[in-house]
């Protein structure tokens, strides 16, 4: 019976999916598992979010009332917190990454360049939660001291949007620097010679080269932005977790990811909270993926001088 089934599947496979040999047939169940995971994630998120979307409607996204006791779940502060921390993070990470790349390529000899790139590779392997504890032990107190020094009314502990942004930025600097230096290093040597023959200095060469790799830089920024939107552990340790819609980055805030993490333990106490968290997760998934895909597309398309060396 199984033999019949096997041959049946084989014939169907050949006709429908052009799977014409045993390798692909044997791999099929594994491929199906992978597809099932992706489809499953979307389905589960959607299924669990439906009730929330029907209950709250558009207010889910634009309202700020998150009160489990009245079973009202609106996540605008989490949305703004997520985007606020991510934007500041990219704005911090970009100049530092560019500076790092400029430092490495314009002012350092070739031997040091390799050392720096190696270090970046290892720095990119540091798990995000370690940046979280660094943030708690070093960044948050620094922010608190800053607030105390200037006598501002802001976060009492130092946990704030800014702290979250700083942690996100430093977490992504190695990765961003590596992406940029990849393209930067691929600029054909003949242009480098041309620049030197014209007498261009370090920062001038950077400006010219930057014009050539703008696409990759923009793409990298969007990519990192998408990653920041999805980052959970490190941010929730330092952002303060308060439902604030304040303008000052020195105030504590909340992100979608930290919202989920903080309330997941209380879901059994309420009827509709689980659904709300799933809905929030869906929103985060969609926004994060959007920016990551956009970033990759931009990096691929907009590197001037031809795609050959533009990675």
């Amino acid at each position: 019976m199984t033999i019949v089934l096997y041959h049946y599947i084989r014939v169907i496979g050949q006709r429908k999916m052009n799977i014409h040999d045993d390798l692909n047939l044997l791999s099929l169940p594994f491929l199906v598992i992978v597809l099932a995971i992706v489809v499953g994630v979307f389905l589960v998120l959607l299924a669990n979010s439906m009730t929330t979307f029907t209950r709250e409607g558009i207010n889910f996204l634009i309202g700020s009332n998150w009160s489990p006791s009245s079973e009202t779940y609106q996540i605008l502060p989490a949305l703004t917190g997520t985007f606020y921390t991510s934007v500041i993070a990219v704005l911090l990470a970009l100049p530092i990454s560019l500076g790092l790349v400029a430092f490495t390529y314009e002012y350092m000899p070739i031997t040091i360049r390799e050392t720096i790139k190696s270090s970046l590779y290892y720095a990119a392997a540091i798990p995000t939660v370690v940046y979280g504890i660094w943030g708690l032990e070093f960044v948050v107190p620094a922010v608190r001291k800053f607030i105390e020094f200037w006598g501002l009314t802001a976060s009492p502990t130092g946990q704030s949007i800014l702290a979250g942004a700083i942690v996100l930025a430093f977490m992504n600097i190695p990765y961003m620097s590596l992406i940029i230096s990849e393209v930067y290093g691929k600029i054909p040597f003949t242009y480098i010679e041309a620049m030197h023959s014209l007498g261009a200095l370090g920062y001038e060469r950077l400006r010219i080269k930057y014009g050539m790799v703008k696409g990759a830089v923009l793409g990298a920024s969007l990519l990192v932005f998408g990653k920041c939107v999805g980052e959970t552990t490190a941010v929730s340790m330092v952002v303060g977790n308060s439902f604030n819609l304040a303008l000052s980055p020195l105030m504590p805030g909340i992100t979608i990811s930290s919202l989920i993490v903080n309330y997941v333990s209380e879901t059994s106490l309420y009827n509709y909270m689980t659904g709300a968290l799933f809905a929030a997760a869906l929103v985060m998934l969609v926004s994060s993926s959007l920016f990551i895909l956009l970033g990759m597309w931009v990096a691929r398309r907009l590197v001037i001088g031809g795609g050959e060396w533009g990675g």
Partner: protein, 259 residues
Amino acid sequence: MSSVAVRLSNLNVWFGERQVLFNVNLSVPLNTVYAIMGPSGSGKSTILRVINKLILLRPESRVEGRVEVMGLDIYGDSVRPDQLARLTGMVFQTPNPFPHLSIYDNVAIGPRLHNTVKKSELDSLVRWALEKSALWDEVKDRLRDPASTLSGGQQQRLCIARALALKPRILLMDEPTANLDPVNAAKIEEVIRELSRDVTVIIVTHDPGQARRVANRAAILFMGRLVREGPLHSVLHDSYSQLIQRLTEEYAVQRGVSD
């Protein structure tokens, strides 16, 4: 101010352990077209890059000897990069205009960086440089187009204009027509002959016909050593290819004996 544009004295160059130029001595008089010839690997391009110090970009390069450009000891005295760039311009074997800049901006980038001219004079400088490179008529209506829209031959003339915009006294050309078709090559040779009235041109070429067409003096390098130097007709009085062949055979024999 001497009448010598470039003087190389006892020049020795290494890449790491490998020596590529052996005790080269030559002088390039002002306002001549000086050809440097030799088979591949003889060190011709290296000499050019010694003159504008671009050789220091190559890893593990070492230069010993004295190199004077317009009387300045460029490896000894502290000559700033921008001073050297205004004395020497370079045109490379493969045309390399900056692809993301327009035609106008490619020519203007040198003067802009060095702040050599006022904004109001930039337009006329760009025009002058493009006219000198015999490109003005072909691009005057599309100066803002990207440089990448030009053909290979046009791009190379653009590179000449880019170098000329800084009004260098010496123009270094590294086999500038090697990758071009004969029509464009001829145009550039014409440009070189015109230029030599005000600029000293040092051109690396592997084509003795080209040397005969444009140059007044020449040097022939073989395996990093200078084997002939002087006025063109005396350097090339016998067949260039025969000379190279003879040198190659002599070298092979030497190696065979010493092994």
